[in-house]
């Protein structure tokens, strides 16, 4: 690459290209190194409607975590199978319940007025308690399919 100038008195005012190329190479390496993050998420199962009309078996072994929204926008309430549980106790209690179980299944029922982040947090706590099958109970499921 050559440049000529018409400078008076022997002065050269051509811009030095080398630093520009250095900057360009730095930017190139930066964009080669930065990769978009892999998507991650939480798996959940949806109970399917039963094939034949049958009475819902009241399985004593099912654990249902119920998240209720408190009026006035306070912290949501948590219940494990009808017993109230404070948020701090949720993980320890779930861990102790599932420590003795071979098939770890959890169902989550949430109030429709809650933010999704609350439910995502509960699913996350379920995964921390080593539950591998987490089911979501929707209004239609709760009404008996």
């Amino acid at each position: 690459m050559s440049m000529s100038t018409g400078g008076v008195g022997g002065l050269s005012s051509a811009p030095n290209v080398t630093p520009l190329i250095d900057v360009l190479l730095v930017l190139l390496i930066i964009f080669m190194v930065i990769r978009p993050p892999n998507p991650s998420g939480l798996n959940a199962l949806v109970p399917q409607p039963p094939k034949k009309p049958q009475n819902q078996q009241q399985n004593d072994r099912t654990i249902v975590v119920q998240v209720t929204s408190r009026s006035g926008g306070g912290q949501p309430g948590y219940k494990i199978n009808q017993t109230d549980v404070p948020y701090g106790q949720l993980l320890p209690q779930l861990e102790s319940i599932y420590a003795t179980r071979a098939t770890k299944v959890l169902f989550i029922k949430g109030d429709p007025n809650l933010n999704f982040a609350v439910i995502a947090n509960v699913i996350d706590i379920g995964k921390q308690a080593s539950v591998d099958h987490i089911g979501i109970i929707t209004p239609k499921i709760a009404a008996g399919q």
């Binding site: 690459m1 050559s2 440049m3 000529s4 100038t5 018409g6 400078g7 008076v8 022997g10 050269s12 051509a14 811009p15 290209v17 520009l20 930017l27 892999n38 998507p39 991650s40 998420g41 939480l42 798996n43 959940a44 199962l45 949806v46 109970p47 399917q48 409607p49 929204s69 408190r70 926008g73 306070g74 912290q75 949501p76 309430g77 404070p86 948020y87 701090g88 949430g110 109030d111 429709p112 007025n113 809650l114 933010n115 999704f116 982040a117 609350v118 439910i119 995502a120 947090n121 699913i123 996350d124 995964k127 921390q128 979501i136 929707t138 209004p139 239609k140 499921i141």
Partner: protein, 161 residues
Amino acid sequence: MGIVKRDEGKKVNSDINVTPMVDVMLVLLIIFMVVTPMLNNKVNVDLAKVLNPTTMPDADHQDSVKVSITRDGKVYLGATQISLADLGPKAQDLLQNKPDKTVYIRSDARARYGIVMDAIDNLRTAGVDQVAFLTKPIRQSAPPPPVPGAKNPATSHTPGS
């Protein structure tokens, strides 16, 4: 690079001035740095933050079925808005030729859970039984966010008061 010094002042300087070209290149670079994240044909959703998500590389496939639920309750299948009633049949069409019948739900953290449940209900009628909620992982350096639903963001996890 060689510099040739001319002492004639009468000839026209026809050399290309590089500085404006570099300026244009930098402007284009900045434009593409800003625009590229919006190019993936996805609805912009603020995903919920979670401590232990499982990585799901299949969610980024072009033909994976993605249902996005925005904060104001709009439901999108892919990038097009859709009503809840249409969600079931259209999702069923998309899932027909796929071995892995997982539907990826990208729900905003502050979306109303009732809309999420309705979407899941409509997907259920399409025969979907496995659903994956996409989330953002929480970096270890930042403290975990407080349980949403509290008025003031407290840093402890004890409820109420």
